[in-house]
Point group: D2
Chain length 203, copies 4
């Protein structure tokens, strides 16, 4: 139960938020494999997109404002009511919404090949940076088991891939970037964490 | 003409098999939508492919021979052990297996548009015909709720789409069709049912 | 130059229309292959969709009414001006148009596997049936060379696949089927031909 | 630091290599659009993958060793013989080859939305870095016309997107990285250029 914003000193705050990630199961499809028999490098971005939509987009039947999350709902991923219960799912987006999201940048490191598995991968997500109108969504893709909770500590295991997506919020009416709203910022702040340090990035 | 596995008179037999379908939840992806905002007609075949693989392919960690199914396992779809427990998942297929499956024919009728939903669609499947080396997998795609059981009665609701796929079993060694093995036939016979009568098919 | 409608006796007419097909090159993508190393059965429908859009949708910069086709333009597929010159491309469709197309039915027979090739496949298309508000688009997919003309005789070679798609024209305003317009019918009638007789279709 | 292949002083060399890019037309598909009606951010990576395969993979019917390129062949993109004539297409890859390519890292900046167009986009490619066993392929995606040559100067127009992919060559036998072979290095060095400076990359 992390109060949003960090009233303690920064180091403690960073410590706290480091261990709180969104844990999103994403079902593989056999068609994610390419002719090499591994999940294709492009399809990996598809898995990230699906995880991001799951955790950040408000469910169409919701108000678009984060309400209190029912902890019971979180405990049962098979409960349809629980499917809308991501605490960060406050982005009133999708076609027809007042805002759009524009993906401005992406970066990924593939650490090892991923084969087909009937069990979902676990995409761990947090926010590496929150600006005025944009946010950096960070990801680790893990294949060591399906999450039983919506949020929790990050895995210590070596991920399959690490990535970041910079998203800009855009007003559907004007086409211009629009500021992150207070209720969005409040919903997302508990998931602020250290940005990813990519190993391979050139000088 | 359902002779195999039916010692009673045909009408009773047909009645029995009609109510036993495989009920496979398939998660939609936002990327299944096309620029019209509906699940694309091609992607509908992707959903069918994923359902078919889920229910018919033996899990790589299994023996490839149908053993007794643990009813407890069926009750908990979140249990990874249960993921292999489809009673029809006896097809030793996938790359590297001794058999391949060749899709010889497909037919589909789209009855109404399908929008994005976080809840899985339910693909109901049965076998409309079993030949010497081939089988017709029949499908109805439903969006009225996620199945809580692996098998059960078909829905009375109007489906989103109805389809059939003819699959031919092929020996990986020779590239020629190979006969359905006795353990495969035994696993699949309980799901024999009436073939789909397509409305729109021309004369 | 086939006069639309057939005033001669049926056999002659069928003979005439049999030899006039739309010949659409469709570029394969390496990602069309699945883990078996062949073009995936679902992706084959993607190739058909792209061919259909190429040949039937009016180019957004066009009037939506078929004008006389410049034969010189047809001779040079690299000429961007020629890209809009399909004689059947009169369907004012796509998002934002006054009409939508709804795919109501599809059927396909896969005759042999298709591997990756840098050269486009040639999708031969004709119209197997034209109703009041719908049409059946027939396809043969060939891999024996890229077409040098937009229209021409069908190949005598055995195709990779044969298929049909039933398309219903729908008014964007009302959501109801709308009649094929006279200019559409005039543009499409020269490509009327015999429907496909599928071999494998069950009784 | 462009030492290889540059006997003149660095500035002249950089000037030379800056203007020599691979110019690969890539056909859009209508299905590249997402529900927003623009080419989806994930599909953009698909376009890059197809461009990379086109320009770097040896055609299966070739020897895998770069021979002299027939300039006449380059002049006619419709000539199937010309399709193998990319001067950089020396990578003996694909399933069954002695080497595999492993995509280790990707980075992209999306500069403006890309709508559907029947004309191919032009993916301009060059090599930003060549290591012992890896290379950085740089891309700019342009929508201002189809290339008439295989190689040439880069466009001065603002691209749709800019990206880089780090590829590691891997021995199929050992699964370990293997050194870039002399004939590969010779084929690729003419396309060495400045790495992309991404605007948005965080500190």
């Amino acid at each position: 139960m992390l109060s949003s914003g960090c009233s303690a000193q920064a180091s403690t705050c960073a410590e706290l938020v480091r261990v709180t990630r969104l844990l999103v199961p994403v079902q593989l499809r056999w068609s994610d494999l390419d002719a090499y028999g591994h999940v294709n490098n492009v399809e990996m971005f598809r898995l990230l997109e699906e995880a991001r939509i799951t955790a950040f987009w408000a469910h169409p039947h919701e108000s678009g404002v984060a309400g209190p999350v029912d902890p019971e709902a979180l405990a049962d991923p098979a409960d349809p009511a629980a499917l809308a219960a991501w605490p960060t799912a406050v982005l009133d987006s999708g076609p027809g919404a007042s805002s759009h999201t524009f993906v401005a940048r992406q970066e990924i490191e593939y650490l090892r090949p991923l084969g087909f598995d009937r069990r979902p991968v676990r995409v761990e997500m947090w926010i590496g940076h929150m600006g005025g109108a944009s946010l950096d969504v960070c990801y680790e893709v893990h294949d060591d088991g399906t999450p039983s909770e919506r949020t929790g500590r990050g895995s210590a295991a070596r991920p399959v891939a690490r990535a970041v997506t910079t998203i800009v919020l855009v007003s559907a009416a004007t086409g211009s970037p629009r500021r992150i709203a207070p209720h969005e910022r409040a919903a997302w702040e508990p998931f602020l964490g250290e940005p990813i340090s990519f190993r391979r990035r050139g000088a």
